[in-house]
Symmetry: C2
Subunit: 381 residues, 2 copies
Amino acid sequence: MLRCDELGAISDEPGRLTRTFASPAMRRANKLVGSWMRKAGLQVREDAAFNLLGRRNSERRGAKTFLLGSHLDTVRDAGNYDGPLGVLTAIATVQLLRERGVKLPFNLEVAGFSDEEGVRYHTTCLGSRALAGTLTAADLARIKEKQIVKARRRQGEFLGYAEVHIEQGPVLEKNNVPVGVVTAIAGQSRLCVEFHGVAGHAGTVPMNLRHDALAGAAELVLAAGCCGALATVGKLEVAPGASNVIPGHAALTLDVRDQNDPRRLAAVRLLHAKAKIIARRRGLKLTWTPVQQTSAVQCDKALTRIFSRCIAQRGLEVLKLTSGAGHDAAALAAICPVAMLFVRCKGGISHNPAESVNTTDIAPAIDVLADFIQTLATRHA
Amino acid sequence: MLRCDELGAISDEPGRLTRTFASPAMRRANKLVGSWMRKAGLQVREDAAFNLLGRRNSERRGAKTFLLGSHLDTVRDAGNYDGPLGVLTAIATVQLLRERGVKLPFNLEVAGFSDEEGVRYHTTCLGSRALAGTLTAADLARIKEKQIVKARRRQGEFLGYAEVHIEQGPVLEKNNVPVGVVTAIAGQSRLCVEFHGVAGHAGTVPMNLRHDALAGAAELVLAAGCCGALATVGKLEVAPGASNVIPGHAALTLDVRDQNDPRRLAAVRLLHAKAKIIARRRGLKLTWTPVQQTSAVQCDKALTRIFSRCIAQRGLEVLKLTSGAGHDAAALAAICPVAMLFVRCKGGISHNPAESVNTTDIAPAIDVLADFIQTLATRHA
């Protein structure tokens, strides 16, 4: 926790925490975290994508590598834990394993990824995707540092990847447990929806002759609330937007997430059908524009089961949950099995200086991660 | 109609029609309309409130006065008919009565009021309220031309007031009739409503743990649609307003109108109760702020009955409707019985250069108004 605070003081902006891809603050952060890695017995380097990598080789020849980590970049005006907590618990775990005198049949590597939030280029997970080798031409067109493709690692090099991260949601707190196992990272559909009606005088157009775009939008907002997936209308704009004018136009965003892709797509289809019915009934024109779509990433069942057992062996309740937010683990899933451990955070608040984690929740996270690595070691012995 | 066009060219702004209280364009308009009044045999003057008044005295000594008219000011970027049509049909009616050789047992006066829209001072009906003597200290505090109070007319001077106006709504067009009788000018409640919830990550907060301010607002929008009165949510603003953030705050305007004050107030109470239930169920905080309230004005039953009979005698369907918009007639109702005749307009469009009236609808309006005055004359004979 002290390290989280020390790291949280390293920012590109005075007075608030903002640390972006390949920035001066990121370089200083890598230097500081690198020194902590060394203290834990890791060999430290920075790869071509500015990822900070600390490595402890196995004595076994030709051993594969198990990767731990998270990201060291932040959003603008960030809290201290989103990202850094995962890197620092990984380092603490390595140190704990060393203290326990544990020998591993695989190499252990800790990554502090250089970009997950995507503040600098609006293209997320540049660091972990460079390492996984899944950057696209579109990504490279947007960035200056083309050499980051060289950070790509060897096919089949990794046994797996495990990431500790704050939940950024209220479920663990609500259930009063310090840590939880992530079963999947949700897929996401983002859409823009517009209802085009007829603006009119609020005093002269009878209710039954109206084509009120906002009334149509309101019906869709409520339909989103019961579509069977996690659905959010975060933005709604009404025109002309005067108190005595019937809205002629309403534009809204629709964000639909689910760990199960067919269920997410069914929810989107349901809402589209519903929007068409609303538009027809109210005499509105509907514009339905998909903006972005990402598939769900399933966490590895075997690794997730180990996490669950380690939690249970510590006498804690095993709570499984889906991550609605994206993570480096989703990028790593392209090249190896992944697992994630969530740590309870206060009020589900994240991407905010008010982000807060109980100090007493950190020990279980480190214990569980160390037990997890030791269990893996016995499996691969 | 040609006069409407000629008058519509007199503007304070180049390229669009805007004519405001006591402006240079208003002076030019009064001069032009005054010349038409003189041609119809009226004696013309401008009162202290810049109202243009044309008068034809009765031969009967001590006769009272019947007032016809509407306003000559406009909104910004106006159409040609909202206001002027009522003044010009009144002048045409006076001319028609002269052609018919009708003698009246009352004086006839035509008013072109100087301010109904309130563009200049954001305080409506300055002209007709000055004449009615109902200006308030708050009105006078906002205006430069304090002398307009001198436009106040003698108590009991008027027998009544009748106004022709475009409907500014779609009801007559929908029912395929050229003119309609107004039974009342609706009262109005204007409110600002806010729902305060908890902003959160669209991917991490489960539906059942959300306090989504927009979802609450959407329920109220739909409740407004079936509250029993004419209710409009014209403005809705959501914060923080990002596609991946659950809305923590939603602010909306509520405009509720009805010709029946108890029914309007009951609708507002119903919506308030509904908003409280919504807020409680969703864990939101509700702010409910009444902004403005005006009572309904009932048109005089006897005058309205005469309008209805005159319409029926011309072989037209008698359609009665409420005015949802305010009019000079509401100001005059403070000092005498009032009646209004609506003329069909295209698509209900008003306060817009696209405002349009069928030329063939004007003759019935003038005929009905002339018949109305003649009927009144026989009653007062």
